[in-house]
Symmetry: C2
Subunit: 379 residues, 2 copies
């Protein structure tokens, strides 16, 4: 597995923030990094060249969705996901666990794996740690995930049971791996319980994965709980391995979680809200469908350098949204991804030049977050 490594370049003395570089067979990923989500082998509305223009360095794709459609064997026939979707930079695939365990009433867990029915056609399928690694090896992402159980975060007894299973499955995933050019990450679980999170971080650290994911923290628990769990887990995880907070986050999450030692993020939020007409600004989120934008000649943000803001008035984008023109969704998606990526680039710069904490304070003073929203739906 010499093709994957993580260089820790700088640690902020005033927080737990870190700057580094992940090296992969498809190029380098400066960290901290935000990965846009390309669930079905496409970041919705965008081409690979749009993503290069945004300087996206990593995308996430969903194993569950690709396994069902178009199928892992088909993608393998094309030489893997990079070739299939013509994306030349790094890809991360999740394990499918999050999606499968979200299929309430359509799945049944046993010690060996999970039976479930497709949300597309109701057909029967089974995931085990071994099949999930096999699927991810066919997809061929640079970073892959252990098959984990992602329970509701607030039931202690069930989290104890699920965590034990997740740990047994982590060992099986490690044993099942045959490719040496993919980095397998272990996934820390344990709900909102500090003792379980600590136990999980310790156990998985002992298995010596190339990176560590922190799962189950984007599913409805409070932000305070999320922060508390990061403060438990990150000091335990190996210092020289990347730490990936799955399914997070919002702009404010980037700052709060980088400050607590997270290196990697992915989230559907920027692209999903874009398709509802909502865009990020430095003062908070606004919805462009609002009538007050009907005559607005200014771009979404006057100092934004994204294609959308360089080209179009807010009134024009609002017109496209109201007229149900799909170009609107592409333009808002471009803006929101640029906002997230550019913010993350500035976060990284501020870590390197020692100004992270003051940049964080300035950003969060100006930015009005949407309070305590559930940051990720399960489908």
């Amino acid at each position: 597995m010499t093709s994957f490594s993580f260089d820790l370049i700088h640690e902020d003395p005033n927080s737990q923030a870190r700057a580094g570089v992940i090296h992969t067979p498809h190029g380098d990923i400066p960290t901290p990094v935000f990965a846009p989500v390309g669930t079905q082998a496409t970041v919705k509305t965008l081409t690979p060249h749009d993503l290069y223009d945004l300087d996206v360095t990593l995308i996430l794709s969903n194993t569950y969705h690709l396994y069902l459609r178009p199928g892992a064997d088909l993608i393998a026939e094309f030489g893997g996901l990079h070739q299939f979707m013509q994306w030349e930079r790094p890809i991360l695939t999740d394990s499918g666990g999050f999606q499968v365990f979200s299929l309430e009433g359509l799945r049944k867990i046993d010690e060996d794996g999970v039976n479930f029915r497709s949300h597309i056609d109701g057909s029967k399928h089974r995931f085990t740690p071994e099949t999930v690694i096999g699927i991810q090896e066919k997809l061929g992402a640079d970073i892959i995930m252990c098959f984990d159980e992602c329970p509701a975060p607030d039931n202690y007894d069930y989290n104890v049971e699920a965590l034990a299973r997740t740990h047994r499955w982590a060992e099986r995933c490690k044993s099942a791996q045959t490719r040496t050019d993919q980095a397998l990450y272990g996934i820390v679980q344990g709900g909102i319980f500090a003792d379980l999170r600590a136990k999980s971080a310790e156990f998985l650290s002992s298995l010596d994965f190339l990176g560590y994911s922190i799962g189950g923290l984007s599913v409805g628990e409070s932000k305070a709980d999320m922060h508390a769990m990061l403060e438990v887990v990150n000091p335990i995880l190996p210092r020289h391995k990347p730490r990936y907070l799955m399914g997070v986050g919002s702009p404010e999450d980037l700052f709060e979680c980088v400050a607590r030692g997270v290196d990697q993020f992915d989230c559907v939020l920027p692209t999903r809200i874009a398709r509802n007409g909502a865009v990020f600004t430095k003062r908070g989120r606004i919805n462009l469908r609002n009538a007050r934008f009907a005559t607005d000649k200014q771009p979404i943000e006057s100092d934004c350098t994204c294609y959308t803001c360089r080209m179009f008035s807010t009134a024009y984008i609002r017109h496209l949204l109201v007229a149900k023109e799909t170009l609107a969704l592409r333009l808002t998606t471009l803006h929101n991804l640029h906002f997230m990526l550019d913010t993350m680039r500035q976060i990284r710069e501020s870590i390197l030049d020692g100004t992270f904490v003051s940049y964080k304070d300035a950003f969060l003073t100006a930015y009005q977050p949407v309070p305590e929203e559930n940051r990720q739906s399960r489908k």
Copy 2:
């Protein structure tokens, strides 16, 4: 109106085909030309830069739609449609007549104009020749249209009555025009009746418009009728003015109608069928949703130079279509517009080098048209 002119460069000795250049305040348009349709101030799924990359030289936008939403006054406040949608090249607006007369049961015609209800919210509106010119002057396109009545093509008595009204309205439109930087075209009507078409072409020629549209030939009549009407009209129209066949056409229409003296086309067909997964190839139209494309590693056409064909396998595009990913619609739209524009560029080259008739024969021998489809819906 010195800002608009038409240079007739070459006339094919073996057909009525012509090559020329239309000069406008926003640049030159080599003819014959195919104009993509941007109904609501956007060619669906594409940015202006996508259109520049395709080397689109003219787009059509719909007066009826823009009048209702976002409104001509709003667009005028932005400095016109070019600025509003950030498209720097020539634009043509239709008169709204075609759309308004299509609102069966929602419109009432009198000598002075038409009362109608919005298809969006049922609100009441009135178009007259004078208001329609006023709206088009606010929109600010380079080429604008007279307000015409577009009746069903096969009722002789009604066509006689409608044509007389269209001619009176043409005179009123000419008188109503105040801007000198827009080229106003007269619209020849007359259904499928040679005597009415000839009368219309003669009358409108006497009014000395800067260009001539041929209307009412994309609404369900046969292709044989369409060809017959072109053979009546074009020899009457002034030789040194552009001739624009409205709402046409398919790939085969380009050849058949250029051969009969048409210089300008617009049609929703390439972009509309693209959004249903149908794409043009040199052998005819195919639908990429078909299961036979599920494993197809080749591009839609191996010698096509469009972005879609340079980048993606047919199987990937089919996957996007089946998974309902909007990127699919953008990729098929790019391909179909490239097909139309590139075919038209080759038609123009073949006119200039004297090989048009043989190119037409070769293209039509290879290309299997969809038989006698109704080429334009009214909404």
